[in-house]
Amino acid sequence: MFQIKLSLFSKTKSLENKIDLFHDKIIDVAMTFKKAITVFLREERSVEYKKLCKQIKNIEHDADSLRRDIENKLYSHNLIPDLRADVLELVENLDRIINRFDEVAYKFYIERPQFPEEYHSRIKELCEQVSDCAENMAIASRAFFRDFSTVRDYSQKVYFIEAESDVVSGKMKEAIFDSDMPLANKLQLSNIIGEVADIADIAEDCADELLIFTIKRDI
C-alpha cells in the first residue's frame, strides 16, 4: 500500500515536472528566436544563425515529445478527468506557438529576406514583442496549473503586447510598400513580417481559450 502511494506520488511529480519543462521550452524558443533574428540581421545565413536555427529545431522536437508524453500520461492514468480535454487543447495550442517560431526561423534561413538597414530596429522590436507575448503566454499557462487567480493578469499582458505588435507590423508593411524597392521584395518582406506577427496572434488565441479554461478550473 505504501509502495502504491509512493508510486502514485512519483508519477504525479514526474508529470508535473514535464508540464513545467514544456513551459520552459516556450520561453527557451522565444529567447532563442529573438537572438537568432538579431544574428540574422547582422550576419544573414551565418554559421551562428544556422546553429541557432538548429537549436530552435531541437527545442521544437523536445517540446513535441514532452507534449506527447503529457497527453499520454493524462489519458493512460486517467488524470484530471474534468479538465483533461482543456489541458490537452492548451498544450496543443502552446505547441503551435513553438512550431511557428521554428517555421519562421527556418523561413528566414531559406528565403534570406533582405531587410534594408532602416528597418532593422523595427523588425527587432517586432521580434521582441512576439517573444514577450509567447513568454507571457507561457507564464499565464503555468499559472493555470498552480495559481489560476493570476492567469487573467498575464493574459492581459499577452493582449496588450499583441496589439502593440500589430501596430509595429502594420507600420512596417506600410513603410515597405511606400519604399522604392522592387515589388517582389516588398511582397516577400511583407509576407515574412506577417508570419512573425502571427506568432503573437496565436498566443492571443491561446490566451482567449485559457481564460475560458480558467473559469472551469475554479471549484
Binding site: 508535473e16 478550473r217 471549484i219
Partner: protein, 349 residues
C-alpha cells in the same frame, strides 16, 4: 435455529439489497460520476466499510425505529421489510433517488395502522423532523466546506496534477467514512424490525466478541454490499451528474458533507460527548443519504448562484420523498391483510 426465520429474513435482505443499490450510490456516486474513482474500487471500499459500520455502529438508530413501532411478529416484520423493499425497488427502477428510511418508516406506520396500534407521534415527529434537518444541515456543512476549501486552495497554490491526486485520495477516504456512516445509520432500516426475533447468539473468537444483533447486522451488511455491486451503477448516473454538473472537489465536499450528517445521526459516542458538554444531542435516527446528498448539492449550487442546479430533477426527487412512505405504507397495509387472511399467518400479537 428455525429455518422459517431465514425465510422471513429474506425480505430484510431484499431491502438491504435495495439500500445497497440506492443509498450506497449516494456515498460514492459523485466520485464515480466525476470519473475520479473507478466503480469497482468505490464499490469494494463501500462494501467493506458498510459492513464495519453496520456491525459496530448500528445499534443506536435501531432503537429509535423500534420505538416507532415494535413489530412483534416475524411475519409482520417480513411484510414491513418487504413492502419497504418493493417501494424502494420501484423507485430505483424509475431512476428516482429514493429514501430507504422513508420507505421503512412508511411500512412501520402501515403496520401500526393495520394492527390498530397507535403510532408514537413523538418519535414520528422526531424522525420526520430529521428529514427536514438532514438536508439543511448537509447543505450548511457543504457551504462551509466549499468556502473553506476555496480559500485554502487560493492560499496553498497546489499544482493541478497534485490537486487531482489529493482529491482522489480524499474521495476514497470520504467514500470509506461515508460507507461506515451509512452502514451505522441505515442498518436499522434493513434489520431493525428483525432484532427482537433474532435467533443468533453471541460468539467470541479470542478477544473478538460479536453479539447476536451484530451477527444479524453483519448479514444485513452483506445484503447491502450485494446491492452495491449489482445495481448501484444505474443510480449513480442520476446522482453523479444529473442534479448539477460538479467538479471532483465539489464531489468530495458532497460526499463528506452527507457522511458527516449520517455520522452525526448515528454515533452513540458523539451523542455521549454532546451530553457531557451540555450541548443538546442529535437524535439517533436513520436519515436518508439521498436527502443529505441533495442538500449538499443544492447548498453548493445556491452558493454558486443557483444557475447550475437542475431544478426539474430535484422536483422528481422531492416527489419520490412524498410518494415513498405513502407507497410503502399502502403496500404494507394491503399485503398484511393477505398474509393474515390468505396465508393465515399472525402478523401481530
Amino acid at each position: 435455529m428455525d429455518i422459517s426465520y431465514f425465510i422471513f429474513l429474506s425480505s430484510g435482505l431484499f431491502l438491504g439489497w435495495s439500500l445497497g443499490a440506492n443509498d450506497a450510490a449516494n456515498v460514492f456516486g459523485t466520485a464515480v460520476g466525476t470519473k475520479m474513482v473507478r466503480f469497482r474500487t468505490a464499490a469494494t471500499i463501500a462494501s467493506v466499510f458498510i459492513i464495519i459500520g453496520a456491525v459496530f455502529g448500528g445499534a443506536g438508530t435501531s432503537k429509535t425505529l423500534t420505538e416507532l413501532g415494535t413489530v412483534n411478529e416475524l411475519a409482520g416484520a417480513f411484510m414491513v421489510a418487504l413492502s419497504a423493499a418493493l417501494a424502494v425497488y420501484w423507485m430505483v427502477n424509475s431512476s428516482t433517488p429514493v429514501s430507504t428510511t422513508q420507505a421503512i418508516v412508511g411500512s412501520i406506520v402501515g403496520w401500526n395502522i393495520y394492527c390498530g396500534f397507535e403510532t408514537n407521534t413523538t418519535i414520528l415527529i422526531k424522525i420526520v423532523s430529521t428529514w427536514i434537518i438532514c438536508p439543511i444541515l448537509s447543505g450548511l456543512i457543504s457551504v462551509l466546506l466549499y468556502f473553506g476549501i476555496k480559500a485554502y486552495l487560493k492560499h496553498a497554490k497546489i499544482h493541478l496534477i497534485h490537486q487531482d491526486l489529493y482529491t482522489r485520495i480524499g474521495l476514497i477516504l470520504a467514500c470509506a467514512f461515508g460507507s461506515y456512516a451509512l452502514g451505522a445509520n441505515n442498518i436499522a432500516n434493513v434489520m431493525g424490525v428483525f432484532v427482537d426475533a433474532s435467533p443468533f447468539h453471541a460468539v467470541s473468537i479470542g478477544n473478538f466478541h460479536l453479539s447476536g444483533t451484530q451477527i444479524l447486522f453483519f448479514i444485513g451488511g452483506i445484503a447491502i454490499s450485494t446491492g452495491v455491486f449489482t445495481y448501484s451503477k444505474k443510480i449513480i448516473k442520476t446522482i453523479g451528474s444529473s442534479v448539477m454538473s460538479m467538479s471532483p472537489i465539489i464531489a468530495w465536499i458532497v460526499v463528506i458533507s452527507q457522511s458527516i450528517v449520517l455520522f452525526l445521526f448515528a454515533s452513540q459516542g458523539l451523542k455521549n460527548i454532546m451530553i457531557e458538554l451540555g450541548i443538546p444531542p442529535l437524535p439517533l435516527v436513520p436519515v436518508s443519504s439521498s436527502q443529505a446528498v441533495i442538500g449538499a448539492v443544492i447548498g453548493i449550487g445556491i452558493t454558486k448562484g443557483g444557475r447550475e442546479v437542475n431544478w426539474s430533477i430535484l422536483g422528481k426527487v422531492a416527489l419520490g420523498w412524498i410518494c415513498t412512505p405513502i407507497i410503502s405504507a399502502s403496500i404494507c397495509f394491503i399485503c398484511l391483510f393477505f398474509l393474515e387472511n390468505v396465508f393465515n399467518l399472525s402478523v401481530y400479537h
